[in-house]
């Protein structure tokens, strides 16, 4: 019925927004959920830093408040990603992506270091301007195809510009997030496990975007 010619396992009917499960979307959904559970249960690592110029080291730990905040944001990001995997509506997908994006900003912005905050702010700028291509593309799909449901869009073609705008929107909302996470040097910073959520959600959402683009064209 939908996308890549797959068999349908189940539908969740919430009015006009019909979530659907196919082998692909179900796998992606379970990956996101499983990773979120692991993330919620894992403990942040404690880092040991060498002190330069002497034979010593110090242990640096993240304050409890920051741990809780990052974990909360990571869980929200995971839930939003899981939702984006199974949604059957293009506007709904855009909103899920935005939710994941703003949670990503939260993960990056939890730090107190100036360069990390600067990276988070620049990512925030990208996220805000990406709203125009993303929601604009969704509105153009409604205007030119007459529907937002991916179940109907499977048989309707929309113009290529709309698809490109949509890709750009998703890229800006979440696709460039790992770049900022890497720029803020968060891998080697404290609180490492929660940051991987940014990468997982980016990866899963880009895979899903490809499926949606196949449906649109």
């Amino acid at each position: 019925m939908i996308g890549l010619g797959e068999s349908l396992i189940g539908l969740i009917r919430l009015g006009d927004i019909v979530l659907y499960l196919t082998p692909t979307t179900l796998t992606l959904f379970l990956t996101a959920v499983g990773f979120t559970v692991v993330m919620a249960l894992s403990r942040p690592e404690t880092q040991v830093e060498l002190v330069f110029g002497m034979d010593g080291y110090k242990k640096s730990e993240m304050p409890m408040g920051e741990i809780k905040f990052r974990r909360y944001m990571a869980i929200v990001c995971g839930v939003a990603t899981a939702g984006a995997m199974i949604t059957g509506d293009i506007f709904d997908f855009a909103l899920f992506v935005t939710l994941a994006g703003i949670a990503d900003v939260g993960i990056v912005a939890a730090s107190k270091k100036p360069q990390v905050l600067d990276a988070a702010y620049q990512y925030g700028m990208t996220l805000m301007i990406a709203g125009l291509p993303l929601f604009g593309a969704a509105a153009l799909v409604l205007g030119t195809a007459g529907t937002l449901s991916l179940h109907e869009l499977d048989t309707i073609r929309v113009s290529g510009v709309v698809a490109v705008l949509f890709i750009l929107g998703v890229l800006g909302e979440i696709g460039v997030a790992p770049f900022y996470a890497a720029k803020a040097r968060l891998f080697r910073a404290l609180g490492a496990p929660y940051i991987i959520m940014i990468h997982v959600s980016t990866l899963l959402i880009i895979v899903r975007t490809v499926e949606i683009i196949v449906t649109l064209l």
């Binding site: 900003v105 905050l117 600067d118 702010y121 125009l132 604009g136 969704a138 509105a139």
Partner: protein, 216 residues
């Protein structure tokens, strides 16, 4: 003009405006100016969504609007935090209190009118109106200070309202016969939620609006 041509024209005008705005964003270097330009781009997003012109488009505008407002809220706060950390100063900025008489005398009446009117409206618009009343009162008159527990308390109220609303949303599909109850749960829940959020913005606004501990 027939509707197809109107749609085409509107979209092209929308894209042209967005083109100018994005070009401005590419050329701008100052961070704060960029924030203003992103707000302009959010408005243009609404314009492109509005081109569709049906009742459904009207309903898509609301999420797009709220997303824009939420992002401006979070990222302007982020900009403040960023600059504070970069410059390394704490709350020592020189603030010049506004000595405007209206701000001392009007809040009681205006806040009551707005909150009552907002409660009648319900829903998102009602929450915005009532929240505006609360914001105005808190910015101008409130003498208390922010404590963490107070902040968390207001957050909890808004969380409970959110749950009411989710309950209403689920009722629509589990027990369709209770649609009227579900509608009021949704409308009431969103009212309380938005109002409390706006109130918290008012508390934060008060801190930067007035001199520490002083009158308006």
């Amino acid at each position: 003009m027939e509707i197809g041509a109107l749609f085409q024209t509107a979209i092209v005008i929308g894209f042209a405006s967005a083109f100018i705005a994005f070009l401005g964003f590419v050329l701008e270097r100052d961070d704060v100016h960029k924030l203003v330009l992103t707000d302009l781009i959010e408005v243009l997003t609404l314009m492109i969504v509005a081109c569709v012109g049906t009742d459904l488009a009207e309903c898509l505008i609301l999420p797009a609007l709220v997303v824009g407002v939420a992002e401006v809220l979070a990222f302007s706060e982020l900009a403040v935090a960023k600059e504070k950390t970069r410059l390394g100063f704490e709350e020592k900025t020189q603030q010049s209190p506004l000595n405007i008489e209206v701000l001392r005398t009007s809040p009681n009446l205006i806040a009551i009118i707005l909150i009552l009117y907002g409660a009648v409206l319900t829903g998102f618009t009602g929450g915005a109106v009532a929240g505006l009343g609360m914001l105005y009162y808190l910015v101008c008159r409130w003498e208390g200070d922010i404590t963490k527990s107070f902040w968390e308390g207001v957050g909890a109220v808004s969380g409970v309202a959110w749950c009411l609303w989710i309950l209403g949303f689920l009722l629509f599909f589990i027990v369709p016969d209770l649609w009227l109850l579900a509608l009021f749960l949704a409308g009431g829940g969103i009212l309380v939620k938005v109002t409390s959020k706006m109130g918290l913005i008012g508390i934060e606004g008060k801190r930067s609006f007035r001199s520490p501990g002083g009158k308006t």
